[in-house]
Amino acid sequence: MARMKFLCDTERCIECNGCVTACKNEHEVPWGIQRRRVVTINDGVVGQEKSMSVACMHCSDAPCMAVCPVDVFYRTEDGVVLHDKDACIGCGYCFYACPFGAPQFPQTGTFGQRGKMDKCTFCAGGPEADGSDAEFEKYGKNRLAEGKLPMCAEMCSTKALLGGDGTALADIFRERVVRRGGSGAEMIGWNTAYGSGEQKRQQTRGGDK
């Protein structure tokens, strides 16, 4: 059973923004919305400058899901957090709650008119029939249904951004860290996204798989 996650290796990310562009292109994301962004930490500080690509992390105990007044979110067996745009009222609560700033809106929000929330779908579309035009228009391509992983990760030139089953990603990452002598061992964002929820579950359910 896969548990889909994203992992960005800050030792490798070169801030090329290829993932951002690939995502916009693959899904024909609406104007003004960028489902993924690259943040450079300590820009210009020698030896401390690191970049990281971030989008929706598909959290285990997802704050967006918890606060949505209309309950539009759902989660697949593989841990992907999806939402039903038809029911979204554009209140912006998911944006307040999300640690990663993932939910975005096509309108400016005067009088609370934000339009339907848009965020990364892990290339898994939405409730509409897989691969249908309706699904594409609202959520973009459904690559998971074609047996492919998210576009951003699959095309990352340095393979800094990884997407897929969390265990597989952690294995790859561990091999790398060992090879490079232990540097850059943190999985930034993982504790925020997957920490509390899955740890809590393991405590309460005795660590079932």
């Binding site: 800050t10 962004r37 007044p69």
Partner: protein, 331 residues
């Protein structure tokens, strides 16, 4: 909106947040590793560089979102829900114990004007917009627990979308009419010496005794200052912060505004239940006064004796109540 206002507002909200016991994110011990500074910067939510202007700000991880979620989904929903239920039960008990407050004397048939047309129109604008805002706001907060289990989320989303739009467009009307109301009613709501008697006798609410007062008694004054003025402006201003994003307020400001807005609104609604009860089904004749602007002389004499005497051309200050403080001449 000018940036200055935003900065001041942010400072005010921040001060309020400290009062609320806003929690800082728990510190995590830095891992022994050469990137310690990088991760510290991320954890502290420091603004970083970004190539494209992303709609979200430059913060990589904002831990405040989780705090906001815990406040809203936790104490605000739970305590708020129980508080509203509790106030309702209290009113039902009051009704059972005390019954409807009736006129004691027979109506004279002679009417005195209590509210001008402008006053009544302002009152009903505030009242109608308040009720709409309360219903739609509560729908957003409790709909997930009460309505979705009954009709499902797709059907509920229609109600919620309608409610949200009503809320967001009626909100500014409520705010504007509240300002007018404060201007109109403030003068007659200042403290007057006779109010001390009302406090001592708890308004005669349980004993049924009539405590004299000027135009507004201390109960009405409390509702005016705590409800209309303080809560009305607090809920109104934070509502405007939420309603018009993109004027300089960032996510954290909006979380704070939301917490204050919703807590204030719930207290406001709880108080309003008492006001609505006594102004409608709880007391004979009070609804008439705001509907028509006129009250019967008997009602005026029983409920607002000084005001009644003054309206009849006297000085108003007849020493009726035993041991009462000397009536003020401030009027």
């Amino acid at each position: 909106m000018c940036a200055h206002l935003i900065v001041t507002l942010r400072a005010v909200l921040l001060a309020a947040a400290l009062g609320l016991g806003w929690m800082a994110a728990p510190a995590v011990a830095a891992p022994p590793d050469n990137n310690a500074d990088v991760y510290r910067a991320v954890r502290e939510g420091t603004a970083q560089s970004i190539t494209f202007t992303a709609p979200a700000d430059r913060m990589l991880i904002q831990s405040e979102g989780q705090t906001w979620r815990q406040w809203r989904n936790g104490p605000i929903t739970q305590i708020g829900g129980w508080m509203l239920a509790g106030v309702f039960v209290a009113l039902v008990l009051f009704r059972l114990v005390r019954g409807k407050i009736m006129l004691e004397g027979p109506p004279t048939g002679r009417l005195i004007q209590r509210f001008s047309t402008v006053e009544r129109m302002t009152h009903w604008t505030v009242a109608l917009s308040f009720v709409l805002l309360a219903i739609t706001g509560l729908t957003l907060l409790f709909g997930k627990h009460v309505v979705i289990p009954l009709i499902g989320y797709s059907a509920f989303s229609w109600i919620a979308a309608l409610g949200k739009n009503v809320h967001n467009f009626v909100g500014p009307l409520f705010f504007a009419s509240t300002l007018v109301m404060v201007a109109l009613f403030a003068r007659d709501n200042v403290w007057q010496a006779i109010d001390a008697l009302w406090i001592r006798k708890a308004g005669g609410l349980l004993s049924g005794e009539h405590v004299p007062s000027w135009r507004f008694n201390f109960g009405e004054k409390t509702w005016f200052w705590i409800g209309v003025v303080i809560l009305g402006l607090l809920v109104g201003i934070t509502g405007l912060v939420l309603d018009f994003p993109g004027n300089g307020q960032i996510r954290q400001d909006m979380q704070l505004a939301h917490i204050i807005h919703t807590s204030g609104a719930l207290i406001f609604i709880a108080l309003s239940l008492g006001h609505i009860y006594i102004g409608s089904v709880g007391m004979e004749g009070s609804l008439e006064s705001m509907k028509t602007g006129y009250v019967d002389e008997t009602w005026a004499r029983e409920h607002h004796e000084y005001w009644y005497r003054e309206a009849k051309g006297g000085s108003g200050a007849a020493p009726v109540a035993p041991g009462s403080a000397r009536p003020s001449t401030a009027h």
